[in-house]
């Protein structure tokens, strides 16, 4: 019996070439043309000079020299990194207890709570940012609520058009991103590890610090990454609630493909952003390995 089974080709090796081709075609077309080829175009364009034509002219590193030597771009890049870093920190730190509750205390309410924290993820990003604009505006919700309650008599301009407004708005908009990866990491920690810690006399805080936290680090890093990437390149929130003092690198890229109309330079800025993200990903990978990835 066993010899007959062994003699038959395994189901995996029987896949017909036609089936394989048909199944790989849609995904292959999309990934290779729309993702890899399009990103290749950006990289190519970054090394061209702007002559008004679609793909520019020549072969030059002038765009990168400008990015590296003009202090404006250092300032804006640094600001983007600080804002995205603060947003990531705020989102991950505030999401962790929620994920912890979901994994260890939620009980029967777990599915409902999971649903509630992920639901805002599927609503319009533009509307979520717009909501903060009406909260923070000079004659908006926060000012009018404070005046109504007698806490202060004059509306303040201090809310809108500040980098702080950008951080709060982005942290709110990307909050749902962070909970799920941390929850998955916490939920997959073997319960025997926690029992072993408590049997060996570890107090709750010690077992959290020595067992739970290190084991959940892959989830924390994944959460940090999925929040950091979209926020570092964001241009909508700075435009809506940030004002001129919160210009981010995404804003500059957007204007190069709009008003400023220097596509090669915009492409060079994009390449720089991707390099920064690559560094962050590699850092996260390294940290992940240090904590012994289970994913």
């Amino acid at each position: 019996m066993s010899t007959i089974v062994a003699a038959r080709p395994s189901p995996e090796s029987r896949i017909s070439p036609v089936f394989r081709f048909a199944m790989l075609l849609p995904g292959g077309l999309v990934t290779f043309s729309l993702i890899l080829f399009a990103l290749g175009l950006v990289l190519f364009l970054a090394f061209r000079s702007n002559d008004g034509s679609l793909l520019g002219a020549g072969l030059t590193v002038a765009n990168f020299v400008t990015v590296a030597t003009d202090p404006l771009y250092w300032t804006v890049t640094l600001r983007s990194l600080v804002i995205a870093g603060l947003v990531t920190l705020a989102t991950v730190v505030t999401a962790y207890p929620v994920a912890y509750y979901l994994a260890f205390h939620a009980g029967r309410r777990r599915n409902l709570l999971l649903f509630l924290v992920t639901l805002p993820f599927w609503t319009s990003y533009l509307l979520r940012v717009f909501a903060w604009k009406i909260v923070l505006a000079y004659n908006g919700v926060l000012n009018s609520a404070f005046i109504e309650s007698g806490l202060w008599s004059q509306p303040t301009l201090a809310f809108l058009n500040t980098p702080a407004a950008v951080v709060v708005t982005l942290a709110h908009a990307y909050a749902p991103f962070a909970i799920l990866p941390i929850y998955v990491a916490l939920d997959t920690i073997p319960k025997s590890l926690l029992e072993a810690a408590s049997d060996l006399g570890a107090r709750p805080f010690t077992s959290f610090r020595r067992v739970v936290l290190p084991n959940s680090m892959p989830g924390v890093l994944a959460a940090a990454l999925v929040v950091f990437v979209p926020t570092v390149g964001d241009y909508v929130t700075p435009a809506m609630v940030g004002g001129p003092a919160s210009t981010m690198i995404g804003t500059l890229i957007q204007s190069q493909f709009g008003k400023a109309n220097d596509w090669p330079f915009g492409a060079a800025l994009s390449v720089c952003v991707m390099l920064v993200i690559l560094c962050v990903v590699l850092l996260a990978r390294g940290a992940d390995r240090r904590f012994g990835s289970r994913t």
């Binding site: 189901p11 995996e12 029987r14 017909s16 089936f19 394989r20 199944m23 790989l24 995904g27 999309v30 990934t31 290779f32 043309s33 729309l34 993702i35 399009a38 990103l39 175009l41 950006v42 364009l45 505030t94 207890p97 929620v98 509750y101 205390h105 709570l113 649903f115 509630l116 924290v117 639901l119 805002p120 599927w122 609503t123 319009s124 990003y125 509307l127 717009f130 909501a131 604009k133 009406i134 919700v141 000012n143 609520a145 709110h172 909050a175 749902p176 709750p204 999925v226 990437v229 390149g233 964001d234 909508v236 890229i253 957007q254 493909f257 596509w263 915009g266 994009s270 952003v273 990903v281």
Partner: protein
């Protein structure tokens, strides 16, 4: 031991309070939009001025708005179909294709998670100009297939992975071709997830702003219409009424998708045969 458990329970209760506060923070700003959409004032400010439905009446008979809505619906359905088709095939081949190419395609398909929307937008803008298409509704569809792709791949992959291996092997051993196994066995077993992936992809496209900003020609989608209205303080109440409708529809579709995603999973696990 008892005191330790009591302490843990007390800790859980405090965490519960925290989670409640977190949910309030998450929902309160969003819920202000419906609140002020019924407020009889141009300003979104307290105190509330009285109840009115007049902002919703301004939504009717607005050709620019209905044009944008029609665009968003058509683009959403086509992009979601494309993204779902890609999500199904990419994740199926990733799991069962056993080829480096299939694994590569699956990895690249999830890459857009690591690319900021602004770069996805400009890279596609360059591409559609290069192939002579230019900013247009077709360009938006391509962009939205890309934005929704990671979602559909992740949803379909976890669903296919949850189907016991033995079911597919049984079909193949009984002489079904790859095609028959896929179409008559694996696809019906994951039908709820297919629908769920489609709905989530539709929502992604319907609400998407960052990429569509670069790819729209003369015919805007709904989020672009909202963006164009934000410049006029007078139209803020109308935007809030429109936003309320969009939020309601989004909540309903997302809830249905969530229910579908979990549906039948238990059954597949309980009766592996």
């Amino acid at each position: 031991m008892k005191t330790a458990r009591a302490r843990a329970n007390a800790g859980g209760r405090w965490l519960g309070v925290y989670v409640l506060a977190y949910l309030v923070f998450l929902y309160l700003p969003i819920l202000l939009i419906p609140l002020f959409s019924f407020n009889d004032s141009i300003q979104a400010a307290f105190p509330l001025q009285g109840f009115t439905l007049s902002w919703y009446e301004t939504l009717y008979g607005n050709p620019a708005l209905s044009g944008a809505l029609a665009n968003s619906l058509v683009i959403g359905v086509i992009a979601a179909s494309g993204a779902t088709l890609c999500g199904i095939t990419v994740s199926y081949m990733d799991l069962y294709g056993r080829s480096p190419l299939a694994a590569t395609i699956s990895a690249v398909a999830r890459l857009p998670i690591l690319i900021p929307g602004v770069i996805v937008g400009i890279s596609l803008l360059i591409l559609v100009n290069l192939i002579g298409l230019g900013p247009s509704r077709v360009a938006i569809v391509l962009g939205h297939i890309l934005v929704a792709l990671p979602t559909t791949v992740v949803v379909m992959r976890s669903r296919f992975a949850a189907i016991p291996k033995t079911i597919r092997e049984a079909a193949l051993d009984l002489g079904a071709s790859d095609w028959t196994t896929f179409r008559r066995v694996m696809l019906p077993l994951s039908a709820p997830a297919v629908l769920s992936a489609f709905m989530l992809a539709f929502l992604t496209s319907f609400d998407e702003f960052i990429v569509v900003f670069f790819l729209a020609g003369t015919q805007p989608t709904l989020p672009l219409y909202i963006w164009s209205q934000l410049r006029f303080p007078r139209s803020l109440p109308t935007v809030m009424a429109l936003g309320t409708v969009i939020l309601t529809v989004s909540f309903i579709i997302a809830a249905l998708a969530e229910i579908l995603r979990h549906r039948g999973l238990g059954a597949a696990r309980r009766n592996p045969a």
